[in-house]
């Protein structure tokens, strides 16, 4: 039994939990972070799964980490460094390929091989997305606007927002409405004609969702991915030096320097409750730790169903929690390679292997993969987003050897046979991935020293991601902004007194953004909850 008392306990040392803790400590609060695993980071992690090789287990690229958070927490001082990812390479089964990179002229020539018309439109498209994104970007850096509020201050804010919107002009407003509601394919098809461009572009609209590229609502997610920036360079994505875990380590180091106490291998069993009030936590070893406020860095299901417990929840709240959809749809395959594999369409080393490699050869291919998942099977021919991080960051593999990170969709958590069947299907899933990739990289298999296959089930078991959903809850229209995670509870406060939520299951959602964590801390301090 611990006599320690903290101002705040943060459950879970994912990047949002750590950021929330750091901001609270910066404001002078005494903060304790409790992490179940042996290391911090949650899904923002990299591990030496195979000796000598650091796998980027989950998240593999970053661009949306808010610049103001990077500055406030002085992250570069603690080792945060992003190496820009310059290109996206898309090979096609017939040997042709599409290369899009930071050189506009080279990109234009590559697209022009498929459609000269599209090559011209592509240049303007980036600007168009930047224009549309102007509305969304500020919304990420503040709590979600609540249009149903009767609070005069909120109405004032909404009024100002409304004025801003109207000031943009009808055309811009209409374009945004369309963006929010259309499918990625429909949206892109209004502008582009060739499938070889539309298909790889459309996949940005489905990453981490349980949607297909023809599903309404995916054009919005497309825009979301277009809003990344690095060092002010808009729409650039990059590789964390040292692996994704370096980001979490930098945040943790900054947090510690601010006075945050971080304990790993300290799993929390549940909250200490006094009526409807949270007064602290109970660890799995029985230790009780008290605090003025508890902040959950876990997803909404885990927060309410495990930490709080159904018996402490109002039936209507419980119903809303259960209705929050968390269906995981992706898996990861991480490889240790004995050397570089060759792309059949462009053998040898080169920029085609250094950047992102996307397997998304056609609209039907991607849609069929989604169809399979809808009915409880992993895609036999999946979409893949591939990186060879070691080509940009040699620190993650021995010299001459490489790691490969393969993000895969679709791998539905809810298999037809039940989620618990994943251990039986894991290897077949891994095989489907490697077999499909081998069609484009024929000598891949002979290079493989080791492979790690993470199904949504594994993501849940190992990283605590309920149903393997990488965003702590689907980013569908009805689970965004003031509806995330529940209508009426989108400002980080929960129906349980003194319990707050600070991770991706709140606004503005998932990805390595850090905004939920920082906004939660800001809100808690503003309301003097801690």
């Amino acid at each position: 039994m611990s006599a320690n008392r903290y101002d705040a306990i943060v459950v879970g040392a994912g990047h949002n939990g750590l950021i929330c803790a750091a901001y609270l400590a910066k404001a002078g609060r005494k903060v304790l972070v409790l992490e179940r695993r042996h290391q911090v980071g949650g899904a923002t992690t990299s591990e030496e799964i195979y000796p000598g090789f650091t796998y980027t287990c989950c998240s593999y690229v970053v661009s949306l980490l808010r610049p103001w958070i990077i500055r406030d927490l002085e992250l570069p001082k603690y080792g945060y460094e992003i190496l820009p990812l310059e290109s996206t390479f898309t090979p096609f089964p017939d040997g042709r390929y599409l290369m899009r990179d930071s050189d506009p002229e080279r990109t234009r020539r590559s697209i022009a091989k498929f459609s000269p018309k599209d090559a011209e439109v592509y240049k303007r498209f980036g600007q168009e997305m930047a224009e549309l994104g102007r509305l969304i970007k500020p919304l990420i850096d503040d709590p979600a606007p609540d249009p149903l509020s009767r609070d005069p201050r909120e109405l004032l804010r909404l009024g100002r927002l409304g004025k801003q919107l109207r000031g943009q002009g009808d055309e811009w407003l209409y374009a945004n409405v369309k963006m929010m509601t259309m499918s990625a394919v429909d949206f892109l098809s209004e502008r582009f004609e060739c499938e070889e461009l539309i298909a790889p572009m459309a996949i940005s609209g489905i990453i981490g969702t349980f949607l297909g590229i023809r599903s309404p609502g995916t054009a919005y997610v497309l825009l979301h991915h277009y809003m990344g920036e690095i060092d002010g360079s808009f729409r650039a994505w990059g590789l964390p030096k040292g692996g994704t875990g370096a980001i979490a380590n930098a945040i943790a180091a900054s947090a510690r320097a601010l006075g945050v106490e971080i304990r790993t291998e300290a799993p929390v069993a549940h909250l200490l409750m006094n009526g409807n009030q949270a007064t602290g936590v109970v660890l799995e070893n029985g230790d009780e730790i008290h605090a003025k406020a508890v902040v959950s860095g876990l997803d909404p299901h885990r927060t309410f169903l495990k930490l709080v417990g159904e018996e402490h929840l109002d039936p209507e709240i419980l119903q809303q929690v259960k209705r929050f959809k968390m269906r995981g749809s992706s898996g990861k395959v991480n490889l240790a390679l004995d050397g570089l594999p060759d792309l059949a369409c462009l053998p040898g080393p080169g920029p085609q292997l250094t950047g992102g490699i996307t397997i998304a050869p056609s609209i039907d291919y991607l849609e069929r993969g989604y169809d399979e998942a809808k009915y409880g099977a992993f895609s036999r021919k999946p979409f893949m987003d591939i990186l060879i991080p070691s080509l940009t960051d040699p620190t993650v593999a021995p010299p001459g050897k490489h790691t490969m990170s393969i993000f895969v969709q679709y791998a539905p958590y809810h298999l037809k046979e039940g989620a618990a069947d994943w251990p039986n299907q894991r290897e077949a899933f891994g095989d489907a991935v490697i077999d499909t990739l081998s069609e484009y990289m024929p000598n891949l298999k002979e290079r493989i020293l080791h492979r790690q296959v993470l199904s949504p089930w594994d993501l849940e078991q190992i990283y605590g991601l309920t149903e393997g959903n990488i965003f702590h809850g689907e980013l569908s229209l009805e689970q965004l902004a003031f509806l995330r995670p529940m209508a009426g509870w989108s400002r980080y406060k929960t129906p349980v007194d003194n319990l707050w939520m600070c991770a991706s299951g709140t606004h503005p959602g998932g990805g390595i953004m850090g905004a939920p964590g920082a906004l939660c801390a800001r809100t808690m301090l503003g309301k003097r909850a801690v």
């Binding site: 149903l148 609502g217 209508a487």
Partner: protein, 528 residues
């Protein structure tokens, strides 16, 4: 001058200044004509077919056998509009909508009455949980219906209020919004963007019920029950009138025709418009396919927006940007009509009565409906189509010889752009697929078929001048509703061409047997 005198004088000297031409004599065109005439305008309705009615006309597909409209469901018909136009005086009679029998492969099925209490009782025999849920759902829908009634009967608010009128619209909407309980508002905000499968699965454990309630929300759309936004269509349908009329859609047409003529409108059939003429950028009249020209300063088209703006207007008339809006308007038909002439009744095994007027047949699970939708993404038709069935002869035996019946089937999904095209062979194969599904529930049907007609979306396009064979003129999709319908440049019946109005299903509030779009366009004309 008294209004009658004015009309009389107008008839004697019909000048272009106060003449309006209405293109299309379906419910929207006739309703627009009635509204305009009743307000003193001289109206000429031009209809390309030999008879009025459009998709609501009586359709004789085989000598002696007819169905009551290609569109066979009046559930969206607004009573208020019908009364405003004086249609009851011209013979229109409302009746209670028939119950829908949900057929089940090996089971008694479920008779879903339009009366909530009766439906709850029927559902309760299968699942007490679902009965309770259904009652709660209906209660919620009833509470938010006033908001939807307002949305469905008025022009959509402008996105960028430029005038006081617009601001008042928004305020009124806001007031109406706040008269609804905050809890209901939150629930509405939460559910409107959802997919209908998630919403229904949250509430019901009976797969038959989930599929049957989901089906109307996706029929004729380019979406399946797992597509985001289908709840909006669900709400727009469930919170509409829900009534029926005696005589079905053709009776509406008859009443409209009488009302329009009674108010002084002239209707010409077998009269196809080839071109909408402009002079100095303003509407000047139309040129018919025959070559005849008619002058008018106002043309109100109830034809589909793509046809109106891209075919009836001369190419090059519209600025590129506006033209692109209409090119991008998605209007892909996704359903086919199948009509059967039967030598006896449609007997469904499991049904308690032989006289089901409305029937739904699906695979029994919402995933079957989704699978049916999957097909069209690959330019195929569903091998096991979902069927929305009406047996109009139950209510109106005159549609077939004594003792015989006709069956009207809306079959989903059948894509406009079928791979290989809608050849005779493709049409037959689809018809066979429909019969195969029907036969599983009505084993005697095959032996009773006297004749059958299959109208693919391509056929609907050809026979009814319906671009893409899309029954709503523009797909019902989240980005093609309200002020986005049919296009951002034409959200409230007016187009960027002075004098040209859009008042068909492609405008707000959409298609179905409805009239509202036509009336809103007429009011836009009158509003100046």
């Amino acid at each position: 001058m008294r209004p009658d005198d004015a009309r009389e004088a107008g008839r004697l000297m019909a000048t272009p200044a106060n003449t309006a031409i209405v293109i299309g004599a379906g419910p929207n065109g006739l309703a627009a004509a009635t509204r305009l005439s009743q307000a003193g305008k001289k109206v000429l309705v031009v209809e390309r077919a030999a008879a009025v009615g459009g998709l609501s006309a009586r359709h004789e597909f085989h000598p002696g056998y007819a169905v009551a409209g290609i569109l066979h469901d009046e559930a969206l018909l607004p009573r208020a509009v019908a009364e405003k136009l004086g249609l009851p005086r011209h013979g229109l009679k409302f009746r209670r909508a028939p119950a829908t029998y949900l057929a089940e492969a090996s089971g008694p099925g479920l008779l879903l009455s339009s009366d909530t209490a009766a439906a709850v009782e029927a559902i309760g025999r299968r699942s007490a949980h679902d009965a309770k849920s259904y009652a709660a759902m209906r209660a919620f829908l009833d509470r938010i219906t006033p908001l939807f009634a307002s949305i469905l009967s008025e022009p959509p608010p402008a996105i960028s209020p430029g005038s006081a009128g617009d601001l008042w619209q928004i305020a009124k909407r806001g007031l109406s919004l706040f008269r609804i309980d905050r809890k209901d508002l939150l629930e509405l905000a939460r559910v409107a963007p959802m997919c209908v499968a998630d919403y229904l699965n949250e509430r019901f454990e009976t797969p038959l019920l989930v599929e049957a309630l989901a089906a109307p929300a996706v029929a004729s759309t380019w979406s399946g029950p797992w597509s985001a936004g289908t709840m909006t269509n669900f709400l727009l349908r469930e919170c509409a009138g829900g009534e029926a009329i005696e005589g079905g859609p053709p009776a509406l047409i008859a009443a409209l025709l009488a009302a329009a003529r009674g108010a002084g409108a002239e209707i010409r059939t077998d009269t196809e418009v080839a071109r909408i003429r402009l002079e100095n950028g303003h509407v000047a009249g139309v040129t018919l396919a025959s070559g005849e020209t008619i002058d008018a300063k106002v043309v109100l088209s109830s034809a589909d927006p793509k046809r109106t703006m891209l075919t009836l207007l001369a190419p090059g008339t519209l600025p590129l940007k506006i033209e692109e809006e209409f090119i991008n308007l998605r209007a892909r038909g996704t359903a086919a009509k199948v009509h059967l002439a039967l030598s006896g009744p449609l007997e469904l095994q499991g049904s308690e009565g032989l006289h089901d007027e409305a029937i739904r047949i699906g695979g029994g699970h919402v995933d079957d409906l989704e699978r049916a939708f999957d097909a069209i993404k690959y330019r195929q038709f569903s091998e096991k189509p979902n069927l929305e069935i009406r047996v109009p002869t139950v209510a109106d035996p005159s549609l077939a010889p004594t003792g015989h019946h006709t069956v009207s089937i809306l079959a989903s999904f059948a894509p406009y752009n079928l791979e290989g095209g809608w050849t005779d062979s493709a049409r037959e194969k689809f018809g066979d697929a429909v019969i195969a599904v029907l036969e599983q529930h009505a084993p005697t049907v095959r032996s009773r078929i006297v004749a059958r007609e299959v109208l693919s979306p391509a056929d609907l396009e050809t026979h009814f001048a319906l671009t893409g064979g899309q029954l709503h003129h523009g797909e019902i999709a989240l980005d093609q509703l309200l002020m986005m319908r049919p296009a951002p440049s034409a959200p409230r019946s007016k187009t960027t061409v002075p004098g040209l109005y859009l008042g068909g299903a492609g405008s707000h509030p959409g298609g179905g047997v409805r009239m509202t779009a036509g009336v809103l366009a007429a009011e836009a004309v009158l509003g100046g």
